[in-house]
Symmetry: D3
Subunit: 242 residues, 6 copies
Amino acid sequence: MHIKIVNPNTTRAMTDKIGDCARSVAGPGTLVEAVSPQMGPASIESHYDEALSVPGLLEEIARGEEAGVDGYVIACFGDPGLDAARELASGPVLGIAEAAMHTASFLGRGFSVVTTLGRTRGRAWELAERYGMQRFCLGVHACEIAVLDLDRDPDAVKVITEACRVALDRDGSDAIVLGCAGMADLCAVISAELGVPVVDGVAAATLMVQSLVTLGLRTGARGEFAAPLPKKYTGLLEGFGR
Amino acid sequence: MHIKIVNPNTTRAMTDKIGDCARSVAGPGTLVEAVSPQMGPASIESHYDEALSVPGLLEEIARGEEAGVDGYVIACFGDPGLDAARELASGPVLGIAEAAMHTASFLGRGFSVVTTLGRTRGRAWELAERYGMQRFCLGVHACEIAVLDLDRDPDAVKVITEACRVALDRDGSDAIVLGCAGMADLCAVISAELGVPVVDGVAAATLMVQSLVTLGLRTGARGEFAAPLPKKYTGLLEGFGR
Amino acid sequence: MHIKIVNPNTTRAMTDKIGDCARSVAGPGTLVEAVSPQMGPASIESHYDEALSVPGLLEEIARGEEAGVDGYVIACFGDPGLDAARELASGPVLGIAEAAMHTASFLGRGFSVVTTLGRTRGRAWELAERYGMQRFCLGVHACEIAVLDLDRDPDAVKVITEACRVALDRDGSDAIVLGCAGMADLCAVISAELGVPVVDGVAAATLMVQSLVTLGLRTGARGEFAAPLPKKYTGLLEGFGR
Amino acid sequence: MHIKIVNPNTTRAMTDKIGDCARSVAGPGTLVEAVSPQMGPASIESHYDEALSVPGLLEEIARGEEAGVDGYVIACFGDPGLDAARELASGPVLGIAEAAMHTASFLGRGFSVVTTLGRTRGRAWELAERYGMQRFCLGVHACEIAVLDLDRDPDAVKVITEACRVALDRDGSDAIVLGCAGMADLCAVISAELGVPVVDGVAAATLMVQSLVTLGLRTGARGEFAAPLPKKYTGLLEGFGR
Amino acid sequence: MHIKIVNPNTTRAMTDKIGDCARSVAGPGTLVEAVSPQMGPASIESHYDEALSVPGLLEEIARGEEAGVDGYVIACFGDPGLDAARELASGPVLGIAEAAMHTASFLGRGFSVVTTLGRTRGRAWELAERYGMQRFCLGVHACEIAVLDLDRDPDAVKVITEACRVALDRDGSDAIVLGCAGMADLCAVISAELGVPVVDGVAAATLMVQSLVTLGLRTGARGEFAAPLPKKYTGLLEGFGR
Amino acid sequence: MHIKIVNPNTTRAMTDKIGDCARSVAGPGTLVEAVSPQMGPASIESHYDEALSVPGLLEEIARGEEAGVDGYVIACFGDPGLDAARELASGPVLGIAEAAMHTASFLGRGFSVVTTLGRTRGRAWELAERYGMQRFCLGVHACEIAVLDLDRDPDAVKVITEACRVALDRDGSDAIVLGCAGMADLCAVISAELGVPVVDGVAAATLMVQSLVTLGLRTGARGEFAAPLPKKYTGLLEGFGR
C-alpha cells in the first residue's frame, strides 16, 4: 500500500518530520511518502497562505495519481484543498485536522485543540463544524508560537505543554488535539506530562487512510465528488485536469 | 494486540460471522476475539432489547480487563452500553455505528443508513446526532428484515441491495452505511452492484480500535469517564466493579 | 389514578423521601407508590451505575403493568431506561430530568442545573440536548457531594445552596433545577434563601404524569415505541417481555 | 386556585368552548375563568392579527393581577404576547402551543402539528424552535379551514382528521398536536379514529399551569422577566403598567 | 425614493436623531422620513414595552402605504412588529437589529453587541438566532444606561466605549454592533477610539432598504407574508386592515 | 467610490455581463470595474475549479489595493477565496452567494436557490451554513445547464424559469436566489413570469459593498483577518504579500 502525505508548505525539514511520524505508526506493508509541493508558502498561518498552498498540493495529488498512490494525507491543520483533492484522487484523502478531531471524539465527551497563532483559531472552529466535531471541540487555544518557530524556539515544548494544561482546566476536556503538523512529534511527551490522551493528526490520518484502503473504500464519485469536468485552465496546472 | 469484539446479543452464529469479518481486515499482529455475553436478548430490535443487553456486555468487558485486552468493539448498531464500557475499560472502546458513521463521513457530503426494522431508525438518528454525524446522515432506511432473518431469508441480499439503491436516489448520498452487525458480510456484493462505497461498522470499528491502540490512545479518564466508584451492586455483576 | 415512581437505586431511605415529595403535590385522587428495584447499584453516579440500574427498573415497570399502574416516574436525574420503559408501559412514563428541565423552561430564558458529582454533568447535558432543553440549560454545576452523602453530610444544604448562588450569577439564569432525586426535599428552602424558582424533578414529573393520565395520553405505539417483539431473553427478566 | 384563560381573539363562542375544555380537565379545587379581550381581531391568522391581539390580552393579564389570579393560559396557537405577559403576571403563564408541544414530546420521537391556514405554519415552526421542540416537530400541516369556519364548516372534523392521517404517514410521527384553540374539542374523536395520541393545547396548558401553581413556581423575575419599568405609555393601557 | 423610518417609541428627540443619522448616509435621490407613532411607550426596554409599541408602529406603516412609501425601517433594536409590518407593506421592511447584525457578519468571524439595559439581552439573542446571526454574535453586553438616559447621562459615551472595549476582549470579536437606535450617532467616535468597525443599525438598515428598492425587491407575498385577511378588528386600527 | 468586481473565471464575455449588471444598480458616484484574473479555469463547476481560481483572484485583489480600490465583489456563487481576500483588502469584500442569500433572507421565511450543475449544490449548502442562512435556504436546485452554456443554450431561460417554478412549489419558499453569476441578467424576466422576488448576487453584492463603503466599514483586522504575515511564497504571487 502506498500512502502519500502532502505537507502543503514548502519547508522540507517539516516534511521530513511529518514523514517520520507517519512511518512510525504505519503497518508493515505500507509505504509512506512525504512531500512538499513545488509552489506555495513557507508556512501556513492565514487564509491567504492556505489558498496559495492549494494549487501546489493539487499538483502533488495529480502526480500521485500517475504513480498509483492508494491514499493521501493533507498534512496541515487547516486541511486546505481537501474537497478538490477528493475530486482528483481515486483513493481516499484525509486532512489531519479531520483525522485528529474524529479520533479525539472517540476518547471522551470533548477535546481541546492547542494550535500555533491565535489568528488560525477561526479556521479550526470552522473545520470542527464542518466535520460535525463542534460538539466535541470544547476550546481552541493558541500557544502563539509561529509554525516555523516550533523547531527553533527552545521553550516551545514547555509553552505548548503549558497551553495544554490551561486548556484542559478551562474546557474540562478529556483529551488534547495538537493543532499543527509541526507538533507531530510532541504527543508522547505532552501525554506523559499531563496524563491525558494527546492526538496528533499526522499519525491519526495516516492510520485512517491505511484503514480506508484496507476496507476498499474511497470517496463516493457519483455526485459532488466526481472527477472535475475537462475544461481549459490558464496559467495553473494546465497539464493536469483535462 | 488483543481486540475483543462483543456482539451484545446471544446468537453465536452471528458472533462467528462478526469475528470472521473483523479478522479479514485486522493487521497481522492483531488477535481478534469475538464473543456473545452470557445473558441478554437473542437479537436487539428495541430499546428494551438494548437495555437488557448491556449488563452481559459489561460483564464481557470486565472479563476482558482481567485478560489484558487492548481494545474493544461493541458489535450492535445501537452501540449499547458504550459510555459504561468506556468507564470500565483501560483501552479504547468503539461502537460499530460510531465507527461506520465516522468512516462514511470521510467519503463525501453524506451517507444513507440501511438498517433492519423501521422501529430502530430513531436510535440510529439519535446516535448520528450524538457522534456529530447528523449533518452527514442524509437518511435512515429500513429493509424490514428482522435481525435473525438476515441469514435465513433467501431474498435478504436482494431486498437490502434494493433498499440501498432507493436510499441513494432519495438522499442523493455518496455512500451507504449498513445498519446491523448481521450485515457485516454484505459490503462487497452491494458495493459491486451499486458502484458506491458501502461501509460495515464491524470492520471499520476493528480497524479504528487497532489504530487507537497503535497510537497509544485510550478514553480520557480524568473526569466523566474515570473508573466507576466502588459501591454495592445487588443482583447484577456483584463480583465486578468494586 | 395509580402512579408508580421507581427510584432506580436500591437505597430505600431515598425511595421513601422521593415518595413523600411526590405525595405532597399529587392530587386527591392519585395513589403514589414509590419503589426501589430488587437489583442494581446503591446509588447512580456513572454510566456504569446507570446501565446496571435499568434491568431492575424495567422489572418494576413490568410488575406495574400487571398491577394496572396508570403512569410511571423514573426518579433518577440520568433518566435511565426511559425509552425502554416507554416501550413496556401502557401508560405514560417520565424521567425526572425530563420533567424538571421542561418545567424550568416555562419560567424564563434559562435555568442552571445543580447536581451531585462533577462526573455526572456530561449526562445532564446529553439529556438537555435530547429533550430540546439545551437552549434553556445555561450551566450544569456540581456540588461534589455524593448521592448517599446528601442526607449524611450536615453541610449539604449549605453547600448546595451556595452552588446554586454561584450558578445563578455565572449563568445569568432565571431558575434552578436540582439535579438529583435525593435533593427533592430542598426546593422550598433554597428558593426561600435565593429568591428564585427552584425545580425538583420528582414533584414535577409526578404532576406531569398525573396530567397526561388525566388527558388520556400515553406514549404513541405505532412505531418506535411499540411493545418489544417477543423473543428469547437469557439470564435477565426471562419471565417478562415475551 | 384561580386560572385565567385568555382567548386573544374577540369571538366569544370560541372563548366559551375553550373554557369548557379547560374545565373538563382541571382539578376539583381549580376555578377556570375564560375571557376574550375588549380589543383585538375576531380571529388570528397572520402576524398582523397576532400583533393587534396583544394589547387586549395584556389588559386582561393586568386585570387578572388585580383580581389575584394564580396563573394564566394564552389560548391561541401563536402564543401571542407570552413574554410580555410573563413580565406582567405574578404567577406562571403558558401558551397553548408551548404546552401542547412539550406535552407531545413526552409521547415519542416526534409529533405532527395540524393547523388551520397554511400561512400560519411559519409561526408554528418559529415557536417549535423557540421552545426547543423543533427536534420533535416533524411536520406542520394545514387543513386550510379558517379559524371561524372550524365551527361552521360541516366537513371540518372530517377534513382535519384526514389531514392528521396524512401527517402521520408523511412524518412517521408518534402523536398529533392540534394547532388551534378552536380545535380543542376534537382530541377524543380524532384519537379514537386514528389510534394515536392527540394533544390539545388548551387542556394541556391548563394542567401545566395548575401544576406550576401547585409546585409554587412562577416566572423568575431577577432579570429579563422582572416587572416592566414604570414609564409613560400613550394611547394604550395608560392606566396599567406604571 | 421614499423611505419611512419608524421609531416605535414616542420620544421625538430620539426620532430626530435617528432621522439625521439615516439622512447622512442615504443616496442623493432618497427622501428619508422619520416618525414616532401616536400611541406607545416613551422607550422600549421590556417585552411589555415592545408589545405596546407595535399597534402604533403598524398604524404608521398603514399610513405610509397610503402615502406611497417605497420601503421602511423599524428603528428599535428589538425589531418589534417586523413580521406584521412585512404583511402590511408593499415595499421592503427592515429592522435595525436585523440590518446591523447582517452587516457586521460581513466584517469578520464575529461581532459583539453592546446594548442598554441587561434585561434586553435575551431579546437580542433571540433576534440573532432568528436571523441566522447567532454564529456571528459572540456576546451581548449591557452598558446599563436606560434608553432615555443615553442623551442625558454625560458619561454615556465613555461608559459605552468602555463596554465595547470589554466586549472585544472577552469575545475576541472583529466588530461591534450598537444595540439601540439611541446610539446611532456614536459609531464614528467609538470606532476611532477602539480601532474596530462599529455598526449602527439605523444607517445600515436605511442603506439596505434603499438597496432593496433599487433592486426592485420586496417581501414575497405568495404565502406567509401575504396581506392580512380582511376581518373585524375591535378597538385598535379599526380603520385599517380591512 | 471605486468597486472592483472579480469574476474568478477567465471567460471575458461573462465578466462583461457581470459588469453591466453591477453598473445598472450602482449609485451615481460609484465606479464599477469588472475583471477576470490572468490565471484560472474557464468556468467554475467543482471544488477543483474553485481552488484553481483563487490565486488569480487574489492577484486581482492585490492589484486593486495598489490602485486604491474601495471595495470588492467576488462574482462566483461558490464565493472562492473570500477569507483570503478579506485579509488582503483594506476595504470590504463580499461574495455573491453571501450577498444574495442575506438579501433573500429579508424577503420572507425562506428562499430557494436555483443553480447550474447538480454537483455544485453541496457548496451552496456549505455557504448557506457558513453565513447563517441555512435556516432560510429551503432548497438548492440544479437546472443542469453548465455555466458556459447559460448564454449558448437557447432554452436556458425557459429551463431555469421552470426550475424556479418547481423550487417554489416544493420548498414553499418566498423568493428565488439565482445561483450563478452567469444568470445575473435573468432576474427581471423570471420575477415577472413567476410573480416572486428573484435575487441576483452580483447586483446585491455591488450594493452591499457600496453601502459598507458609505458607512465607512471594512473587515475587522485585529485578529483572524489581519494582513497576512510577510513570508516566502514560491512560484505563486511571489511579488505580492510580502
